[in-house]
């Protein structure tokens, strides 16, 4: 059982979290300018790094999505970061 630090709630068991995808997979748009290939890459192509990775996770109990840096081999967790932008 891994433990992840939610930037809002602190250290919690992994069963409280869901994986939300790799960080930095920006949605290509507008649709009219996106190629089939580009859309397929957005949907399906992951880099699956061995080692240090940046991922989006959601803490189901508070509902917040955040950035998690961890090692996919050793399962070491380096840091988590809120995705909230500063209030304008």
């Amino acid at each position: 059982m891994q433990r992840f630090p939610c930037p809002f709630c602190g250290l919690r068991d992994e069963t409280e979290f869901h994986y939300g995808g790799e960080a930095g997979n920006d949605r290509p748009e507008p649709a009219a300018e996106v190629s089939d290939q580009g859309w397929a890459e957005y949907l399906h192509i992951e880099t699956n790094p061995k080692g240090r990775s940046r991922e989006i996770w959601v803490h189901m109990t508070c509902g917040e999505f955040f950035l998690l840096e961890r090692d996919t081999v050793t399962h070491e967790v380096f840091a988590s970061e809120s995705l909230r932008r500063a209030a304008p």
């Binding site: 059982m1 891994q2 433990r3 992994e14 869901h18 939300g20 290509p28 748009e29 507008p30 649709a31 996106v34 089939d36 859309w39 957005y42 949907l43 959601v58 509902g63 917040e64 999505f65 050793t74 399962h75 967790v77 995705l83 909230r84 932008r85 209030a87 304008p88």
Partner: protein
């Protein structure tokens, strides 16, 4: 004191415990394990082996035991594969041998052993290939195997589960573990010490030693006292069975008279003092009852007062047996040490015969050892004790990602590189001498105090390899529990299964419930010998949790039965029960499937017919009620949905889809606009959590979260529906203060009313095609309103409507259930909703995917209706097929199919390739060898004009 005289002492003792073995009454005493009690009673044949049904006896006194498995029933508990070496004896226990018939002593299948040479590894799979292995499998499996689960068994109580954080978790309370615990507790750290035996002390309980001037056992007691004074905790009969991610250690605590307990421990640091397991030597008939590990022989003698034999031969390749020999000599046995080494490194103990260059090559005797063959000479022996060296118990270290290295001097795989936060000490680290083990344990706790001074009977340890000799004749056992012989290993090598992982799978070596604790080293050494490699070149298999088999009841705890996957319950469940509802699970909700008496089919058809004739009352409370609020609410919903919602007027309702980014229909449902910046998303019941999450994801990813919020109020509000020609009159009688005129409240509009103190949302949405009113109010008011509706319903010949009848009503109209009438490929165009795809200029979820080559191919499936001859509905899941030449292919499948009581004929919905182009055509329907013909029609079979919506 012989075994027999020992048993006499048992019967006269005041602390006698009676129990049965294979139906025979025996007597043990307090402090016994099942194993020590059986041995004290002279029971050596305790079971039959897995494959050949050979008589087997105990090998060890610990967790590594390969043979001593029993079916134990006691006080309502049933443990089908209990390790007798670790189970404390209790009065009244019913102990049965496993894989025997009728008993361990007289087993009918023992003739299998005589066929042994015809049954090598892989024999059954190779022989029973034709026509199909599965024809033979049940009978072959019935002959093999272990204990049997009783399907009717219910544990008398739930296993509690506890979580604990501590500074230091020490696993194993032998000398090294005790030294570590004591030093750490003295330094003020919070310590938990666990021991899988019932008593802490490890080898100190049976191997003579003096520590700090105290006798070994006294030092154990004194150290435990100090530990307890310093606040350290000790758990005995507790096995640490796995180390998982981020230093989670799971413990299985066996308790007498109470359910076992599971511990989840998160220590800052871990000390592994898990000891080592003695290895067998490999010679002919080395599996006979009466051949035990030398250390176990001393264990049973010193801990339980059971001397296992009078004429003892100790076969060894190392020094560790010297204290065993003197212990048995002192107990009156005649002892011979048969040392395989040319020169023993220690002199013969007084009164003990020492033979050198004297490997045991064979054992005679069937149900009990009678003699050994040494240097071609037969030597009488009723007990053969064996030490082939020690294998450190490194399982937990390896589970924590440790890497082993092979120590040529100690002939053992030992922990190699350090694992952060984890130390391995004592015999588990290959440190077999007492003084060194104490030192390692003590230092692991970071103590600056002096190391405890120790003198042990064994002051040196040297060992010389005596690995399996493939040139030796006869059947030599490597894996006792799975009946793997040396020849099987050679056969695996011959058939090129040379990798240690292949060896394991081909021969099943190390795959039994003991996971090869006593056999893996000999197996891979044999493979090394056969293939001319070194032992480290062959390597070990992967160590995975659990260290010992753990009962599922312990892992499940209270998550069993109803709590395994708890259902969600309606606020009105009791009212529905009183009305005679039959409940079924829909999604995670327990809902009325139908009401009243008669067969389910009769009840369902009656409800469906009556709802169309008068009025049906339906509890639709699980329907989604997700509130989306804020200045960016409309923009969020526009992006989330296939249909635009920003153009919806307050007070109105719109039906539409949500897509995945792949363009596939994820859910359908309606959205209500309460005001400019307040919407309610009424998605389907099963999709509520998913819709909330996707709304949250896009809200946080794409919008300013301070400008829009998503709130799920599904559980706080109930939704009660009236549908049918009498629905309006019934709702009018409820006096909700809402103008029900069709101008004020047309189809797809809603209004706010009141029922007593509760606000009520009156929405004209229809899932039946008839005029319908969905009344949503806070759950607290649901029962009062429902009772009022029942009273008004009685005046109008209303029917209660369960989910099954509602399914018929919606299918008559061709209304879909997302996930039932759609699959993982269905796009909105397939369901006839192409408008937004053609018109919307803005972005929405899944948009780009609706323009891929796949999405635009002309023969995409379409939702259609099917008409058939006769009265038998089509089976749901039946395929529409097209024949061409000799072949046939699927055109799609039936998604929903019912008997329609209103139409008096079957109806069906289907997804069929290019379905709209086939309207009015006949197609062939195929299901499990049966063929029927069906005509493709529009999905809506009932009231296609929609007149009844306003009737």
């Amino acid at each position: 004191m012989t075994a027999a005289s020992q048993s006499k002492q048992h019967t006269t003792s005041t602390d006698a415990l009676t129990f049965t073995f294979d139906g025979r009454a025996l007597v043990g005493r307090h402090g016994d394990t099942v194993a020590s009690a059986l041995l004290a009673n002279g029971v050596f044949t305790i079971g039959r082996s897995f494959k050949y049904h050979r008589p087997r006896g105990f090998w060890s006194a610990g967790a590594e035991e390969p043979n001593g498995l029993f079916d134990i029933r006691h006080q309502g508990r049933h443990h089908p594969n209990a390790r007798g070496t670790l189970v404390p004896l209790e009065a009244g226990m019913e102990v049965r041998s496993v894989n025997t018939s009728p008993s361990a002593a007289q087993d009918r299948l023992s003739l299998l052993d005589r066929l042994g040479r015809f049954l090598p590894a892989g024999f059954y799979y190779k022989t029973f290939l034709w026509p199909d292995w599965h024809l033979y499998e049940p009978r072959i499996r019935a002959m093999a195997g272990l204990g049997r689960l009783d399907p009717a068994f219910e544990p008398p109580g739930n296993s509690p589960q506890r979580s604990l954080h501590c500074d230091l978790l020490i696993i194993g309370a032998g000398p090294a573990g005790l030294a570590a615990a004591h030093a750490a507790a003295t330094a003020g750290r919070r310590v938990l010490l666990v021991e899988l035996q019932r008593q802490a002390g490890g080898s100190l309980l049976h191997r003579p030693a003096r520590i700090e001037g105290l006798d070994g056992t006294d030092w154990v007691a004194a150290t435990l006292n100090k530990l307890s004074d310093q606040g350290g905790e000790l758990l005995t009969s507790t096995t640490a069975y796995g180390i998982y991610d981020h230093n989670l250690v799971c413990l299985w605590e066996q308790r007498q008279g109470r359910p076992d307990r599971l511990w989840r421990v998160r220590p800052r640091e871990i000390v592994l003092a898990t000891g080592a397991s003695e290895r067998p030597l490999v010679f002919e008939n080395n599996d006979r009852p009466g051949i035990l590990s030398a250390d176990a022989g001393l264990h049973y003698l010193r801990r339980h007062g059971v001397r296992l034999g009078e004429r003892v031969v100790i076969a060894t390749n190392n020094d560790s047996v010297w204290p065993v020999a003197t212990g048995l000599r002192d107990a009156g046995a005649r002892v011979t040490i048969a040392d395989s080494r040319a020169q023993a490194s220690l002199p013969a103990p007084e009164g003990v015969e020492l033979l050198t260059s004297a490997p045991v090559t064979s054992v005679q005797g069937r149900k009990r050892a009678e003699a050994v063959i040494v240097k071609g000479r037969s030597l009488a022996a009723d007990l053969v004790l064996v030490s082939g060296g020690f294998t450190p118990n490194v399982h937990l270290y390896c589970q924590a990602r440790g890497r082993l290295h092979y120590d040529e001097e100690r002939l053992a795989f030992r922990p190699g590189q350090a694992v952060p936060g984890l130390q391995v000490v004592g015999a588990a680290n290959g440190t077999f001498l007492l003084a060194d083990a104490l030192k390692e344990g003590h230092r692991s706790a970071g103590s600056k105090e002096d190391v405890p001074r120790a003198e042990a009977a064994l002051e040196q340890f040297s060992i010389e390899a005596a690995w399996p000799d493939t040139k030796l004749a006869g059947r030599q056992w490597i894996d006792f529990q799975n009946d793997v012989t040396l020849k099987d290993v050679a056969l695996a090598a011959q058939e090129n299964f040379r990798s240690v992982e292949h060896l394991k799978r081909y021969t099943t070596l190390g795959m039994a419930t003991d996971q090869g604790k006593t056999s893996n080293m000999n197996g891979l050494a044999a493979m090394a010998a056969v293939t001319g490699r070194t032992i480290p070149e062959v390597g070990t298999t992967t160590f995975r949790p659990p260290y010992v088999p753990v009962p599922f009841t312990v892992i499940a705890g209270r998550r069993r039965g109803e709590l395994f996957s708890p259902v969600r319950r309606l606020v009105l469940e009791n009212a529905h029960r009183q009305a005679g509802a039959a409940f079924r699970e829909y999604g995670s909700w327990l809902r009325p499937a139908f009401y009243g008496v008669g067969t389910p089919e009769e009840a369902i058809h009656r409800e469906a017919r009556q709802a169309r004739q008068s009025v049906g009352l339906f509890d639709g409370s699980p329907l989604g009620k997700i509130e989306v609020m804020g200045p960016q609410a409309a923009a969020l919903l526009d992006f989330n949905s296939y249909n635009r919602l920003s153009t919806l007027k307050p007070g109105r309702i719109r039906y539409g889809f949500m897509l995945t980014e792949s363009g596939v229909v994820y859910d359908d449902g309606v959205v209500l606009r309460v005001s400019e910046d307040h919407f309610i998303v009424s998605c389907s019941s099963g999709h509520v959590p998913g819709v909330v999450m996707r709304l949250e994801e896009w809200r946080q990813d794409r919008f300013d979260p301070s400008q829009v919020v998503v709130h799920n109020s599904t559980a706080q509000w109930s939704t009660l529906t009236a549908t049918g020609p009498q629905a309006r009159s019934l709702v009018a009688a409820l006096d909700l203060g809402v103008d029900l005129g069709d101008d004020a409240l047309p189809h797809m509009a809603f209004a706010q009313g009141r029922f007593r103190q509760w606000p009520v949302r009156v929405a004209r949405v229809s899932f039946t095609g008839d005029r319908s009113y969905e009344l949503s109010l806070p759950a607290a008011g649901a029962l009062t309103l429902w009772q009022r509706m029942l009273v008004e319903g009685q005046k109008r010949e209303a029917t209660l409507l369960g989910s099954e009848a509602l399914m018929i009503l919606r299918a008559e109209k061709g209304y879909i259930v997302a996930g039932k009438d759609t699959d993982g490929y269905t796009m909105p165009m397939d369901l006839g909703l192409s408008g937004p795809r053609e018109k919307r200029q803005d972005e929405y979820v899944g948009k780009r995917a609706l323009f891929t080559p796949e999405a635009t191919k002309p023969n995409r499936p379409a939702l259609v209706g099917l008409e058939v001859e006769g009265s038998e509905p089509l089976p749901t899941g039946a395929h529409a097929i097209e024949r061409s030449g000799t072949g046939q292919r699927s055109l799609g499948f039936v998604t929903s199919s019912y008997w329609s009581p209103m139409l008096g004929r079957p109806i069906a919905l289907a997804l069929v390739e290019a379905g709209r182009a086939r309207l009015q055509q006949e197609i062939e329907i195929y299901h499990l060898g049966q063929q029927r013909r069906a005509r493709v029609v529009a999905p809506c079979a009932f009231d296609p004009e929609g007149a009844r919506l306003n009737a």
